[in-house]
Amino acid sequence: MVDLPIFLFFSEKNPPRIALEICDDIAFWPGLLKDNLPDITADVSEWAKKGEMEWGADLIRVYLTSTKKKHFSDFPGIKKVIDEILSGTTLPLIIEGSDSPEIDSDVFLNCGEAGSGERLLLGTAEADRYRSVAAAAIAYNHAVIAQSPIDINLAKQLNILLRETGMPDNSIIIDSYTGALGYGFEYSYSTIERIRYAALKGDDDLAMPIISSAPDTLGVREVRESPPETKYETAIQWEFGTALSSLVAGASIVCVRLPETIKLLKTAIIDLSSPSVEDI
């Protein structure tokens, strides 16, 4: 189902969703979180639970950062992590597998198997490495994120490649890559917008929901160079600004890392969806 973005005045169906991004090894995560939320980031299943119960996230996106360790081979460990998160939260789960082609296959198959019976969203398929993740998704009936570098045609091509491996249309989520606000975001914006319009005009290859995540946001110069007392607040604003703009462009799922941003986005979506100014 594709609608115009934020076109929710007459119905409540399909509002944009907000995913909380977390990871299983904090060593590979922006220092900002470690510094400001030290108690929650140590245990990934607790982290996910908090995302659901306290912060109001709609989805949880787990990055298996532990696979970035040199010579990683603890594949059964992946299953354990996923099992823990699944038992800790009822929210839909997005699993980001490895980012090195050598272990892709093992990582994705273990992810797929761990979530067997659930319907996970697996990430990330790219044009030059999509077979492993697609194989795992098809085998265990999961969906995949298809990421392409900020170009409507490349997004379309990757979807075609995935469909040609046997992925059903309703198991593909487009990630056309999002740059941080002020750092190339305008290209991402227009690409999201074009993809959405192409779908509305009847292009089946692009009629999939769009997921947008701009992890670079927490590391932009404006955040890095803020004085310590306002640094965290600046990061929230930057993350919020980027994510909200993505929503307006047409993203169906936006991913953020700071709990405060989720609340701000929720309010903004309600405000934007109201039929008139008076209702706010």
Binding site: A127, D128, R131, A134, A135, I138, A139, D151, I152, N153, L154, K156, Q157, I160, L161, E164, T165, G166, D205
Partner: protein
């Protein structure tokens, strides 16, 4: 000074220390492969230093040479500097070789109306009763023989000087040669006796790489002699840009002008020998060349063509004396040069159009000339759009690891068995394979695609368990020929990177076609005919060209190869004054689309970097073929 000896020819030359080996080779007249213009980028000029000292940056070699090869003295001639007396072996593949140059011209069906006519005359000698001047007597004689009116004929001084003696010494039996030059008739020769059987013209395709000469009898249009050879300007780089850059250097334009005329003269001389005629009897030379070649031949500065806003100096046909361009035929023969439309749409393309006949037809045709660059013309008798661009050298064998020109030993045709994934191929001259040329590469791409070895972006499916599919030094690769089959001492492979370069090349051609169709507001269904011009088009498999999406899909029987359209067009213009007259109007009518200034081009290009195109509905037959192939190979994800 140091001395350099080249093996196996033992040619020797003295050059300044620290010169490149390439410069020394050029100086001694050895033409080496320098696709990149001598900047160490193409890896085609491999030589082996046998004795002596040289210096080089090993990093630059890594891409092309193994450690072992470097230890054996292998280096790239263009970026290796001579430091002492040396001996250098130039292996055969590094030399510019006799190429499969296309010289076939279809039989021309048209009425002959040449621009030069010889009139054999028997004149009455003057007397006291008939004291009219010699020249008037001569020209009246021409008029009586059906030639132009005497007062319309211009006689140059050097001919007038000849008139009294030639007339009297021949007993008033002479042959006058009249040339029809736009707006005027010109008396260009006067010979004793009847020489009217000996009147010839030359039609020349002046290409960046090759020159083709046709000599024709202007009485009946018969072909008298044909020859072709390399453009000697190649020593200054293979591509246009390096020529223009050289022309900008002091004395450079003059050098290139002379090389152009020398090259033409060499090929002309061979054609004259083949025809057993006298070059003095060639009274007209028609040249079709690209814009830069035309400028260089005429000694016109081409420097402004390559800088914004890319203007050529003239956009109409030019007539001058052959002598002024240094072409050695009859000294008063006219030189007719085809008009150019823009920087990249030159006289060769106008000649292509003339050869296709599309400018005289109601049916819409798409003419594609693929060479070092590509040029495309879409239209009919009422309108025409043209565009040009860089296809990259991949389709001609450059930037492809085992790519090569269409020389002997090049794989020119290939098929892959969808079950065993083993290829069968044919090489030029049926010798052991040395590499793969353009037509072979297009076959290969289509076959890899049909066998599901590559996906639609050209990535090799590394999951397939087959000896021929393996990880190379940098990329996955497919083995086309095993070491024991080749004449190289190593396997011939095509890498994933090669495939990507090929796809990028084909994408730019297809995207350009699409842009022209969009400009004209028509679709592929409106195209009546597609013409391939140039050697490349002549040898490629049309079906495979469509399968990879090099050209829009239309029925195969509507696709034609016109061969060397430039030389064919030049032949037509040589034999038919009427057709020649239409050239200026073709050039004026043809709109030029600057692809770089066309925002939709990049989008269309990306859409085309997919086999055959992102939108498969534009290629219905390919869709069918591919589905069929997938059934055969049972391609699906390996779990």
């Amino acid at each position: 000074m140091t001395s350099v000896t080249f093996l196996p020819s033992f040619k020797k030359i003295e050059v300044a220390e620290h010169s490149t080996i390439l410069a020394a080779a050029q100086k001694v007249g050895i033409h080496m492969n320098v696709v990149c213009g001598g900047i160490g980028k193409c890896g085609k000029c491999i030589v082996y230093v046998k004795t002596g000292l040289v210096s080089f940056d090993e990093k630059k070699f890594e891409k092309f040479l193994s450690k072992k090869e470097i230890e054996d003295g292998a280096c790239l001639a263009c970026v290796t500097y001579i430091e002492s007396d040396i001996q250098v072996l130039i292996p055969e593949p590094s030399l510019v070789q006799e190429q499969k140059i296309l010289i076939k011209v279809s039989e021309l069906v048209m009425t002959l109306s040449p621009s030069v006519v010889k009139y054999p005359l028997q004149l009455p000698p003057p007397s006291l009763d008939d004291p009219s001047p010699d020249l008037s007597r001569l020209l009246w004689g021409v008029e009586k023989k059906g030639g132009p009116k005497a007062e319309l004929v211009y006689a140059p001084l050097e001919i007038i000087r000849m008139v009294p003696s030639v007339l009297r010494e021949s007993g008033w039996r002479v042959t006058a040669t009249i040339a029809h030059i736009p707006g005027v008739y010109r008396l260009i020769d006067l010979e004793k006796g009847d020489t009217s059987y000996a009147v010839y013209g030359a039609a020349i395709d002046l290409g960046t790489t090759t020159i083709v000469v046709y000599i024709r009898n202007l009485i009946d249009g018969a072909i008298v002699g044909i020859a072709s050879n390399y453009n000697q300007q190649i020593s200054y780089g293979e591509d246009i840009l390096s020529r223009v850059n050289y022309a900008k250097k002091e004395g450079g334009l003059n050098d290139l002008q002379q090389l152009a005329s020398n090259s033409i003269n060499a090929v002309l001389a061979e054609a004259v020998r083949n025809g057993g005629i006298d070059s003095h009897d060639i009274y007209e030379v028609v040249v079709a060349g690209n814009t830069v070649m035309t400028h260089l031949l005429l000694g016109i500065n081409p420097g402004y063509i390559i800088a914004e806003p890319y203007v050529p100096v003239v956009r109409r046909y030019l007539t001058t004396g052959t002598e002024r361009a240094g072409i050695k035929v009859n000294p008063r023969a006219a030189l007719f040069v085809f008009p150019s439309v823009s920087d990249f749409i030159g006289g060769d393309i106008v000649a292509d159009v003339l050869a296709t006949g599309m400018s005289e037809s109601d049916e819409i045709a798409l003419m594609i000339d693929i060479g070092t660059n590509f040029e495309i013309v879409l239209g009919n008798r009422d309108w025409m759009f043209s565009c040009a661009g860089a296809a990259g050298p991949a389709l001609e064998g450059g930037e492809v690891l085992f790519g090569m020109r269409a020389n002997p030993g090049a794989i020119e045709e290939i098929k892959i068995d969808p079950h065993t994934l083993s290829p069968v191929y044919r090489t030029i001259n049926q010798i052991k394979p040395k590499g793969i040329c353009g037509s072979g590469l297009i076959d290969l791409l289509a076959e890899l695609f049909k066998a599901c070895i590559i996906d639609r972006t050209g990535r090799i499916n590394s999951v397939i368990n087959n000896d021929r599919i393996r990880k190379g030094t940098h990329f996955y690769e497919y083995v086309v020929a095993w070491e024991h089959e080749t004449g190289l001492g190593k396997d011939i492979v095509i890498t994933e990177n090669d495939v990507k370069n090929l796809i990028m090349s084909k994408a730019s051609v297809l995207a350009a076609c699409t842009i022209l169709l969009n400009m004209a507001g028509i679709t592929r269904e409106n195209i009546g005919k597609i013409y391939f011009s140039g050697a490349f088009g002549n040898y490629i498999n049309k079906e495979n060209a469509i399968i990879i999406g090099l050209i829009p899909e239309i029925p195969l029987n509507q696709i034609y190869n016109i061969g060397n359209g430039a030389v064919e067009g030049a032949n037509i213009a040589l034999l038919s004054r009427k057709k020649r007259k239409t050239l200026d109007s073709i050039a004026q009518k043809m709109g030029y689309i600057e692809l770089n200034a066309e925002p939709a081009f990049m989008d269309e290009y990306t859409r085309s970097t997919f086999l055959p195109h992102t939108d498969l509905s534009l290629f219905p037959l390919v869709e069918k073929t591919i589905n069929l192939c997938r059934l055969q190979t049972g391609d699906k994800i390996d779990e």
